[in-house]
């Protein structure tokens, strides 16, 4: 699976903002942290505002803050705003054997993979992803602290 840039940037932004829903961050703050294009992220943020996942805060010190439900919103909910996660077989449109049994079998297999991918992403909430991130960070800090 390769997420498109829109999905990935949206996940960065939503998880970053949801990790502290009282905090406001600008597009530049998020883009600098993840080393991504501010211009592209700005477009992504507009989609996230439209979807109700983040809220634009105007004025001095303005930016964005999380406005969704951290325990109900899944990673797939965010990704689905930008792509469908359907695998594509690059079969030429003009090819006369598009209905070939082998093509049909390959389509069936890619569908099986897509369904598994979606089942994973649709059951990881933002809260779970953040909890897991915190656990990993704490474990890494603990391991670093144990070193002589």
């Amino acid at each position: 699976m390769k997420l498109n840039k829109g999905s990935l940037f949206a996940l960065f932004a939503v998880l970053e903002l949801a990790s502290d829903s009282a905090r406001q961050l600008s597009t530049t703050d998020i883009a600098e942290k993840y080393g991504i294009s501010t211009h592209h992220l700005a477009k992504v943020m507009r989609n996230l505002v439209h979807a109700g996942l983040v809220q634009a805060v105007r004025g001095v010190g303005g930016g964005y803050r999380f406005a969704g439900n951290v325990s109900r919103t899944t990673l797939l909910d965010v990704i689905a705003l930008f792509e469908t996660l359907e695998s594509e077989l690059d079969v030429p449109n003009h090819w006369s054997h598009a209905g070939d049994p082998i093509v049909a079998e390959l389509r069936s297999i890619t569908k099986e993979i897509d369904n598994l991918t979606k089942a994973v992403l649709d059951t990881i909430t933002l809260e779970t992803a953040l909890k897991s991130t915190r656990r990993s960070t704490e474990a890494a800090a603990g391991a670093a602290g144990d070193k002589p």
């Binding site: 325990s71 899944t74 369904n115 089942a119 994973v120 649709d122 059951t123 990881i124 909430t125 809260e127 779970t128 909890k131 897991s132 656990r135």
Partner: protein, 148 residues
């Protein structure tokens, strides 16, 4: 005031409440199933077979059942959680987490270091719950086919 939840071993008088809480599958087939499960897991006091309930104010509001299984599918001894339910009126109160933590503690005491479960991919609530407890896709893949 926050209600006190206690987690304890299931006893025969809990059976009707457990059947009422069970939401999976056709109801009419379940009483005999649960009686069998109860006989196998709640009686005999074996530390590797567990059947627990969550209780508050004298009311059973959740159940969880599991056991240690060894060498099935070539797997070394491992804890399995195969049934779990929480009253719909008592969800998002941490009852599932308390029961899961208790069964993990007891499975660990029984000598295993891994816990597994299997959930219908459309059962988003239960899948999300187990993911929130840190479970990830494991190394065994379930395969099936229809046989006519």
């Amino acid at each position: 005031m926050k209600e006190q939840i206690s987690i304890r071993n299931a006893v025969p008088s809990d059976l009707d409440a457990i059947i009422a809480l069970d939401e999976v599958g056709p109801k009419e087939e379940k009483p005999a199933y649960w009686r069998g499960i109860f006989d196998h897991y709640a009686k005999g006091g074996k530390k590797d077979r567990l059947f627990l309930v969550a209780e508050t104010g004298g009311e059973v509001v959740g159940f969880i059942s599991g056991e240690v299984r060894a060498w099935e599918f070539g797997s070394p001894p491992c804890g399995w959680v195969f049934a779990m339910g929480v009253s719909p009126m008592r969800r998002e109160m941490g009852i599932g987490q308390r029961m899961f933590e208790e069964i993990c503690k007891r499975l660990k005491q029984a000598g295993v270091t891994t816990v597994r479960t299997m959930v219908d991919r459309d059962n988003k609530v239960t899948l999300s719950f187990f993911r929130s407890q840190g479970l990830r896709t494991g190394r065994y893949i379930e395969l099936e086919k229809e046989i006519y």
